[in-house]
């Protein structure tokens, strides 16, 4: 299998897990993991900004259509896709984006954890912020944001651990 087909398969598996497992499991009202963001996190480094925007749009649209949320996922995923380059630059001090073609890994990016956490936090912040859009029940919203972000981070690292060796295989 080529790298591209492996990457597409990875996206299909992640979306299927999100759609058929995570969206249907009710852990608690405080936990709503949004693990599909790993698709954007593991997008190859050399991807052009325009393609990143379209990846973000397609991912958001796919989740909106399947989750029945009109635009909420696009609102959250699009800025994550657009600001990936500044996040790599400021959070992970990684500037060699254009010359590198592979999937982001801890070997390629020195502060890989900062990059993953920044991407997940930005996505969760936008998603839960626009989901509630009120400062009433701020305690509940903050707890839901924290628990969901933690769950998303755990699942993101799980996906990275499972798929990164396959996606980076030469």
């Amino acid at each position: 299998m080529t790298k591209r087909s492996e990457y597409i398969l990875f996206i299909i598996i992640v979306l299927a897990v999100q759609l058929f497992l995570l969206n249907n499991l009710t852990f608690s009202t405080y936990i709503a993991p949004l693990a599909y963001i790993v698709c954007l996190i593991l997008t190859p480094l050399g991807t052009s900004p325009l393609r990143m925007i379209f990846n973000g749009l397609l991912l958001g649209l796919a989740m909106d259509i399947t989750m029945g949320t009109v635009g909420l996922n696009v609102i959250a995923t699009l800025p994550v896709a657009y600001f990936r380059r500044p996040i790599l630059h400021f959070a992970a001090s990684y500037t060699d984006v254009d010359n590198e073609m592979g999937v982001p890994t801890s070997r390629r990016i020195g502060r890989f954890n900062n990059y993953v956490v920044a991407m997940v936090v930005l996505h969760s912040l936008l998603f839960f912020g626009f989901e509630c859009m009120t400062t009433a029940n701020i305690g509940f919203i903050a707890l839901r944001f924290l628990c969901s972000t933690a769950a998303t981070l755990a699942l993101t690292y799980l996906f990275i651990a499972i798929f990164t060796p396959k996606l980076t295989r030469r």
């Binding site: 925007i53 949320t69 009109v70 635009g71 609102i75």
Partner: protein
């Protein structure tokens, strides 16, 4: 041309991002009544905040003019106070609690002028003891409007430049009464209608609020007579008043809480007392 192409190459990716994000926001905002109302309230919050910033900026540049107006007003009030004091015995003190009116100053955050239903937003609300029904006056003491709604930190006043605004008024000299209202259009003039044909009106006569006005303290000047004409039936005068307050350039206002007005309003809501009639008396016998 090359520069233009270069410019578009520089901005097309952020432009695409912003366009898609705005479209997504639009779809999300219109998807449910809840999201629509939340985004609208957020929009109002942002608009109020930005209006406040611009109002503060323009207020800064008008400080010199405001200072002159306020100094003149203070001098006038000092003169009046001294005149009243000279009429009182020396040992009599008038406490604040005995005053029939309470005054609060406020700053205009936004002021619409181009509609038929114009409103003024003021930066004082329930937290500052502003209440619905309070009079809104210009710094010179001229009529501007009255409060119709309050939030914790802001209040909305129905401007005199609102077609729903009607207030009973009288000529200062002649004391003949009429109705002041705004017909839309010119923001400097209002109508003063239904004035008795026997009234002695002259151009330049001032028109003020009546003693039992529900909206303004007694004697609050509204404007001066600019022109007048008899109605078609030759029974009443219809006048055009030039507003004393320049509402198009108002930055600061005085909010007046009248305790007498509150009492009158309270009385109006009381049920009409039932007095015994002759029939009742006969029945008792």
């Amino acid at each position: 041309m090359h520069k233009l192409i270069y410019f578009f190459k520089q901005i097309y990716i952020p432009a695409i991002f912003i366009i898609i994000e705005v479209v997504a926001l639009f779809f999300y905002a219109t998807s449910t009544p809840y999201s629509q109302s939340r985004l609208l309230s957020f929009n109002h919050y942002i608009t109020g905040w930005s209006d406040n910033i611009f109002s503060q900026m323009s207020g800064y540049f008008n400080l010199r003019k405001d200072n002159i107006v306020l100094t003149e007003r203070i001098a006038e009030l000092e003169n009046r106070l001294n005149a009243y004091k000279s009429q009182l015995p020396e040992d009599v003190e008038i406490g604040v609690d005995l005053q029939s009116h309470q005054y609060i100053t406020g700053k205009v955050v936004s002021n619409s002028l181009n509609r038929t239903q114009n409103y003024i937003v003021i930066d004082k609300g329930l937290n500052d003891d502003v209440r619905i029904g309070m009079s809104v006056l210009s710094p010179e003491g001229y009529a501007v409007g009255y409060i119709t709604n309050c939030s914790q930190n802001f209040s909305i006043a129905l401007s005199i430049l609102n077609t729903s605004f009607n207030v009973s008024s009288r000529l200062s000299k002649d004391r003949s009464m009429g109705l002041v209202s705004w017909g839309g259009g010119d923001p400097y003039t209002v109508k003063f209608t239904d004035v008795s044909k026997y009234a002695q009106i002259a151009i330049g006569d001032s028109v003020e609020a009546i003693d039992f006005s529900e909206y303004f303290p007694s004697g609050t000047v509204i404007g001066t007579v600019e022109s007048m004409e008899m109605n078609d039936e030759q029974t009443m005068y219809n006048c055009t008043l030039r507003l004393s307050a320049d509402i198009t350039r108002i930055d600061n206002v005085i909010l007046v809480d009248s305790r007498d007005i509150d009492e009158v309003r309270h009385l109006k809501t009381e049920p009409t007392p039932q007095y015994p009639t002759m029939d009742d008396t006969d029945g008792d016998n």
